[in-house]
């Protein structure tokens, strides 16, 4: 388990249910805007069909094999933005192998099942699944 993801999990688990929602809202507000070079390039992005709202993601692997994850989600979908932001922060700086080694059930271990519902957590599992899928596909091409 990468350190950043482990720390985020500890942070959530230390809080009460209501405070966990507040923390998720903070993450939601921290989801970075797309860098300028990717703005206006919707063709590069993959729609996350499992999320009710229009969520798109794009993975880039640089020359040092480090993965960069970019996600857009509307501000009307703060929960999805929160999930995306956790992944963007938690995966930052990881190599392709490290990203692929992240346990698939990570979203279910944040202690949010009660406050957010398992149904909604599936969107986050899909974000992680599609991120890994893109890493695998792009590494083969590269």
């Amino acid at each position: 388990m990468p350190d950043a993801l482990a720390e985020i999990r500890e942070e959530f688990l230390a809080l009460s249910q209501q405070e966990r929602l507040q923390l998720l809202l903070e993450f939601s507000n921290e989801l970075p805007e797309l860098p300028e070079r990717y703005q206006g390039h919707p063709d590069l992005f993959e729609r996350v069909a499992e999320c009710q709202s229009p969520v798109f993601l794009f993975v880039e692997i640089d020359d040092d094999d480090v993965v960069h994850l970019f996600v857009t989600a509307p501000k009307e979908s703060p929960t999805t933005r929160g999930f995306a932001s956790i992944l963007v922060q938690g995966l930052a700086g990881l190599t392709a192998d490290e990203v692929l080694a992240v346990p698939d059930d990570y979203p279910q271990t944040l202690g949010l099942t009660q406050a957010v519902s398992p149904l909604r957590l599936r969107g986050m599992a899909a974000l992680l699944g599609r991120t890994k899928h893109q890493v695998t596909a792009k590494r083969q091409v590269g």
């Binding site: 929602l21 998720l24 939601s28 709202s53 703060p78 929960t79 406050a115 519902s117 149904l119 599936r122």
Partner: protein, 294 residues
């Protein structure tokens, strides 16, 4: 004493105009004694990003669903939830939410299971309120808890179970409110990405396909009575007096259609099958139809 109804001209044509209020009406009545605003969204955090002043949040999943059994909460829990939000048995409740009031209609339907008498929807919901530049606040709403009586939930009038649907087949119309791809059974899961699915795709035989959003105008308000009659009477073939069952995937989108048929078009016996496709499409030996034909 219930708060007065919105007498907007558009609503007068509906069967039960007192079930809707406009954004203008709500803005003018905010803070009135006996009136409670309730926000119910698909997204559990949306209320926290800004809500109508004085409104409380009721979450479809964490507040209204039983945490263990696939069912709604019981009368005791309902009394706790509403009492803790400052809502009394005779409070006029105006519910609003995101996505054309999809979840707001679901909450209203659950309120109906407990016979809460005066519960209304904000026409246009959260989106229209925001589009009109009306006030939102992130300030926590201070509520004084009240006593809400324990009223047993009555599933007999507006809720259908699988057995009811089986008995209904061949005797009355069904409305499938999911997307047309879900109805035909075309839409299959994407490998490796588990979705909220059922084991078999398709629809309940004889059901007409009327995606729920056909009842909504582009600004998230309900269509006019004449437009709704075109969709449900001319289009789907419902006749006045029909007993109707509506379903979707888990019963949320079909609550919206239930509201339209019951309160706007005046059908007197409409039930929402909340088990919906996640139950029917996984049940053993129930009839299923695939393709575009009913």
């Amino acid at each position: 004493m219930a708060v007065q109804a919105d007498t907007a001209e558009k609503f007068a044509a509906y069967a039960h105009p007192e079930r809707l209020v406009s954004t203008e009406w709500l803005a003018a009545h905010l803070g009135e004694p006996g009136l409670a605003g309730v926000e119910s969204d698909e997204d559990v955090l949306l209320y926290e990003t800004g809500h109508i002043p004085g409104a409380v949040k009721i979450d479809w999943h964490t507040d209204l669903n039983d945490p263990v059994v696939r069912d709604y909460i019981d009368g005791e829990r309902f009394a706790q939830v509403l009492g803790s939000k400052g809502i009394g048995r005779d409070t006029t409740v105006v519910i609003y939410g995101d996505k054309n009031n999809w979840w707001a209609a679901y909450a209203l339907w659950v309120f109906t299971l407990f016979g809460h008498q005066d519960v209304r929807l904000l026409d246009g919901g959260r989106d229209k309120w925001i589009a009109e530049g009306r006030e939102l606040t992130t300030e926590a709403t201070n509520v004084a808890p009240v006593d809400y009586p324990v009223v047993p939930r009555d599933d007999s009038a507006v809720r259908a179970f699988k057995e009811d649907v089986l008995a209904h087949l061949g005797h009355g119309p069904l409305i499938d409110v999911r997307s047309f791809e879900e109805y035909t059974g075309e839409r299959t899961e994407i490998p490796g990405y588990p979705t909220e699915g059922a084991l078999r795709p398709g629809h309940i035989p004889s059901a007409a396909s009327v995606p729920w959003a056909k009842a909504a105008a582009p600004d998230a308000t309900f269509k006019t009575r004449a437009e709704l009659e075109e969709v449900y009477l001319d289009g789907a073939g419902l006749k006045p007096g029909d007993d109707v069952i509506a379903y979707c995937r888990i019963g949320e989108r079909s609550s919206h259609t239930w509201f339209v048929l019951t309160h706007l078009l005046g059908f007197e016996n409409v039930k929402n099958y909340d088990g919906s496709w996640t139950e029917w499409g996984s049940a053993v030996r129930v009839p299923i139809k695939q393709g575009a034909d009913a």
